[in-house]
Symmetry: D2
Subunit: 164 residues, 4 copies
């Protein structure tokens, strides 16, 4: 299991790798390059303050800390925050299974909310795992826990896989 280096004193770069760079690498290589800082991190990671911390074939783990800036009118963290982390970890898990020259897109995901996130929850971990991986379609599941292992939400996704 490849564990990401802790992000050090230097501020990470946010942006996008070029499509040409991405096409030469397998999904796992591409994501590892991002984790290692060779490619910039995607902008959404800055906006919603989460990051990829572990990656291996068929599995991806993101962490984040939900804050007041993500609150909905009901006084808890908006469900879109958990949905974003779960979509990320599931899509990323699928991506790790793809060879160079093969891309994917998320067709759909369903997310279940088991208990609300608040700014008191602290760091959360969103873990995605591939369930099935075919030539045209892949599916994955994701679970979002706090540091004590309490489950907050879970999801499944369907991804389309295609040559790029």
């Amino acid at each position: 299991m490849k564990q990401a280096e802790p992000i050090a004193a230097v501020e990470p770069q946010y942006g996008l790798a070029s499509r040409e760079q991405a096409q030469l690498l397998s999904g796992l290589e591409f994501i590892q390059a991002m984790v290692e800082g060779k490619f910039p991190l995607p902008p959404i990671c800055k906006t919603l303050q989460f990051r990829l911390v572990e990656i291996e074939k068929g599995r991806a783990l993101f962490t984040g800390v939900p804050v007041f800036d993500f609150y909905n009118p009901l006084g808890t963290v908006h469900g879109g925050y958990a949905a974003t982390l779960l979509d990320s970890c599931m899509g990323c898990a699928v991506h790790t299974t793809l060879p160079a020259g093969v891309g994917y897109t998320t067709l759909e995901f369903k997310v279940n909310f088991v208990r609300p996130l608040t700014q008191e929850t602290g760091l959360v971990r969103a873990e995605g795992k591939v369930i099935s991986s075919g030539k045209r379609v892949a599916t994955a599941e994701g679970k979002l826990f706090d540091e004590r292992g309490t489950l907050y939400s879970h999801a499944t996704t369907t991804c389309l896989v295609f040559p790029i």
Copy 2:
């Protein structure tokens, strides 16, 4: 149909209404008060730059403009952005059907992605409509369009309804 006043030159306030304030109002009254600026807007609306623009019983319409800050590593807007707007408009549509003293929470939603959003898409409209509304459970659907009426994503949700 109650259409929101255009948000004027003044910067909207972001924050939360107190639980006591919320409990005295029906769902529709609570949301209208938010639209009219009597209650602060939820923080997520600032972070992801979207807002509620139309509200009536059983229906809510949000708009937003996806920008580069919301991009995923694949070079398009992260699916979590559409999921957040769709969750908002569906939950809000359910909320409009609830009398004072009754609350709700989202149990789950499923979102389908039909085509990718980019920073070229411009303003998008996420419209939520209640499908069924019962004493304990409500369901709703949401669709996200651009200004030409092209569909980008659609969703359904299940909400738990309960006395507060």
Copy 3:
């Protein structure tokens, strides 16, 4: 709108059209041939006693009468019955949009149960409508009503579309 002839005194034939027969026809032509009795009806229609009654481009309507044979241990019709009718009408609606030489398979569906079916419900109508139809993927929605128009369950589906 093409409305099916009422199935007459003769018992319908159940079985399968040959793959060769199916490939020469568009989806709509194939289904119309089935409705007109030129092709046998699929065996599941006999087992669960439902049938296709209306078909047009992008829409399909099935009817059935839930009976005691479909009951679950809780004393109502098993959710799998509504799921089967909804899957049928949604898949069929997608099929009507496909030209000859193009097939589809259902990747996933989600079904919401609004109220239980019983043997007192009488005839139910499951109507499927295409939401989006692309070269590789199509989505559709389905709703199941009784004869008074009361909604019992609703669903959405994602189908993969491919050359055959």
Copy 4:
């Protein structure tokens, strides 16, 4: 783990336990009584030829053999068959967690189809496991495998839990 007695030479009885009988038992006791033949099996188990074979707290396993009678027009087993077995095993898994006097109903499920079932597939096993179990809501997941352990479909569900 409680494993069901193999159903012997005697034909099982199909029907329904009375509501009064059911209310006196916990979910696990009620289902065990059904497995042991003290209560009749639900009619759907006869119609779609599947049965409950293993039950323990938080988990249920059904088996069935898909046959030609369950075929759709595309020449494979209708998706409603897998949906029915998955709904059964997930709902049953939730039921095992409920004390006497507490019932449940399925609010929604989503099923993913990974590969088609045919009459050549042979015996399939649908295993349901509870993911989260609360006072008002429970969620569960289900997977359907053949005897070699190949995955055919998977699902998640949301159930409402309530006093009866």
